[in-house]
């Protein structure tokens, strides 16, 4: 086991633990902070894989922009932290069962697929080349994403709006 392996597994552990904490925290601010930790971990994994550009994007866009926006929203809306559990423990069981199913299938795949242990070839590239690829080969998807954001904006407006009296039936 060399240094890279040790680094990779320790960071992977960090990601899993902090994401798990983010999902289970009732306090939203704590959850967001754990999620930021998980994003930093992912950024470091990308860096280890030899993709510094993606690592930078991960920090700037996810940990930097999106999560800070989340924090702003939580602080502005002053969402009250529910003290009690959101749903009873017996409703957790289906989720646990589904997750266990994925775990079993994943383990079986790793054990039985001949290509599971194969080393993927490195795909290093310059940011400029990457950008040119995205906007040349997948620009339809990029443009449709802008439409998706418009629809999401309308949705946020309607679903987040407090009900007015005239809209009650």
């Amino acid at each position: 086991m060399n240094l890279f392996n040790i680094l990779f597994y320790s960071i992977a552990l960090l990601i899993v633990v902090s994401t798990g904490l983010a999902v289970t925290r009732r306090n939203l601010v704590h959850a967001v902070i754990y999620l930021i930790m998980s994003f930093f971990g992912s950024a470091f994994v990308f860096y280890l894989f030899g993709a510094p550009f993606l690592a930078a994007l991960m920090v700037i866009v996810y940990a930097g922009a999106i999560m800070i926006l989340f924090l702003f929203i939580i602080m502005m809306l002053r969402v009250e932290t529910p003290e009690e559990q959101l749903f009873p423990a017996r409703q957790m069981w289906p989720a646990v069962a589904v997750a266990a199913g994925y775990l079993v299938v994943g383990a079986l795949l790793a054990a039985h697929d001949p290509a599971a242990g194969a080393v993927l070839g490195p795909a290093q590239t310059e940011p400029a080349v990457f950008g040119a690829y995205v906007f040349r080969n997948t620009w339809l998807a990029v443009e449709v994403t802008s439409l998706l954001l418009l629809v999401a904006l309308i949705g946020a407006l309607f679903i987040g709006k407090r009900p007015t009296h005239e809209s009650e039936e």
């Binding site: 795949l109 997948t138 439409l147 005239e166």
Partner: protein, 474 residues
């Protein structure tokens, strides 16, 4: 043919959506104006779709394939949009000031479905699918009865994002195993890699995203609540047009993975049986008409899957034909629903009592549509089921077809219960005859004529579906 002409119908729908984006900003609400603009634009979309029917080519760096298959689906989508907007003349389930947003989302969702039917790049397929889902989530939440609409919208959203997550995992596995990013590369690589578990699991999980749209078991749980909670025209859109885009991609992916062995077909057989059985058995217990429609459409999705899992040109053609049939049949049911529930509230099946005296025409339209959904000759629904079962038997799926036939008999029971309510039950107090606008009468007559005439002489549409399926395999 140049790119502008190839992308014509989509650009037109996009332009129409922008018109409503502008109308959203106008201060004074005017439902009449919005309705007339939407109706005329939707009619033009149908014209644009028909004009581009013969278009052929690829766009956007091979990410977008325009062929007869996609163009046929685009015409179906345009037709679905037009018919649904016909239902909006008295859109009183939605507040007047939100009407432009309602039409905006209808047009954007149609655009997304059109993109879906042509997209061959996996990334474009995923983004188009998300666009159509998100517009539907918001569309559901627009209903005036806010509490019910919000609950339905959130349930829809939660099931939807779960399905998306599963689909993304599948796409990642598929990409990791094959390195393919377009459907055509998949079709080239899959025959050699079909027996690898990674590929099988990846394909199956990828298809889950479309099972959600089609409300196939186990992603059907949203359907009853959403059908019940959304405004009637929005439900009609979800029940008719929104299934078409999903069928288009499913057929395209099935055609690409035709050679990938029997695992996929077996999994689809299991899902199809479960969908039919769960949908039909649950539908029997329903009292609310829209919930009944929801479970019935889960069952119908099972029948469509039979056509797809046959994985033969005949099977694909049958699925395309059945899509058209479903569009017309379900829409007729919703036409009656909107006319009877004139105040925009939900109605129970028992409230249909005495419909044959209040409006004989609507009662007949409802009966024809339900008989067609159940697959009784001489309706288009019978022809569609016949084609699907025939294609499945030709591929050796006889047990599946027998189970499907048992299901058809079960479904007959609850369809007949609705017909009984409309024709035989006497209402408690005698309601006055319904005053229907002439346009509704004309539409009802046209739909009934369509279902019967093309049930007896379906040849033209079968030919069209065959050509479309052939274009797919080229």
């Amino acid at each position: 043919m140049n790119g502008w002409a190839l992308f014509g119908p989509e650009l037109f729908v996009f332009g129409a959506a922008l018109v409503f984006l502008a109308l959203c900003l106008v201060k004074s609400p005017s439902p009449r104006r919005d309705f007339m603009v939407a109706l005329s634009l939707a009619a033009l979309v149908v014209v644009a779709g028909l004009a581009a029917l013969k278009a052929q080519g690829t766009l956007f760096a091979e990410a977008y394939r325009v062929d007869l298959f996609s163009q046929v689906f685009k015409v179906l989508l345009a037709l679905g949009l037009f018919l649904v907007i016909c239902l909006c003349s008295r859109l009183n389930g939605v507040e007047a000031r939100h009407h432009p947003e309602f039409y905006l989302l209808l047009f954007i969702c149609t655009l997304a479905m059109m993109l879906l039917s042509s997209a061959v790049h996996l990334l474009s397929i995923y983004i188009a699918l998300e666009l159509s889902s998100y517009s539907l989530y918001v569309l559901v939440s627009l209903r005036r009865a806010r509490q019910m609409a919000m609950e339905a919208s959130l349930k829809f959203f939660l099931v939807g994002i779960t399905a998306s997550a599963v689909m993304l995992l599948g796409l990642a596995l598929l990409y990791g195993a094959t390195g393919a990013v377009t459907v055509h590369e998949l079709a080239r690589i899959l025959p050699g890699a079909a027996d690898r578990p990674l590929v099988q699991v990846g394909l199956m999980l990828t298809l889950c995203g479309f099972f959600f749209k089609l409300a196939v078991f186990p992603f059907h749980v949203w359907a009853p609540d959403v059908y019940q909670g959304a405004a009637h025209p929005a439900t009609a859109f979800i029940a008719t047009a929104s299934k078409i885009g999903a069928v288009a991609v499913l057929v395209r992916l099935a055609a690409a993975s035709e050679e990938s062995g029997t695992y996929l077909a077996h999994a689809l057989v299991a899902l199809s049986i479960l969908s039919m059985t769960v949908g039909n058995l649950a539908a029997i217990a329903q009292k609310d008409l829209k919930r009944m429609f929801a479970y019935s459409s889960i069952a119908q999705a099972g029948y469509v899957l039979i056509g797809i899992l046959s994985m033969s040109p005949d099977g694909y053609a049958a699925a395309i034909f059945y899509c058209l049939a479903l569009l017309v049949m379900k829409f007729t049911g919703f036409l009656v629903l909107v006319a009877v529930a004139f105040d925009g509230a939900n109605i129970e099946i028992a409230e249909l009592a005495g419909l044959h005296r209040r409006s004989p025409l609507l009662a007949m339209a409802l009966m024809t549509s339900l008989f067609s959904l159940a697959g009784i000759p001489p309706t288009i629904g019978f022809t569609g089921k016949f084609l699907i079962f025939n294609a499945a038997i030709a591929q050796g799926h006889l047990p599946l077809v027998l189970i499907a036939m048992v299901n058809v008999v079960i479904s007959l029971y609850y369809y007949l219960m609705v017909v009984k309510a409309a024709y035989l039950l006497e209402p408690a107090l005698d309601p006055p005859p319904m005053q229907l606008p002439a346009a509704v009468n004309v539409l009802a007559v046209a739909l009934v004529a369509f279902m019967v005439v093309f049930g007896v002489y379906p040849q033209a549409f079968i030919e069209m579906a065959r050509f479309a399926a052939a274009a797919l395999l080229k």
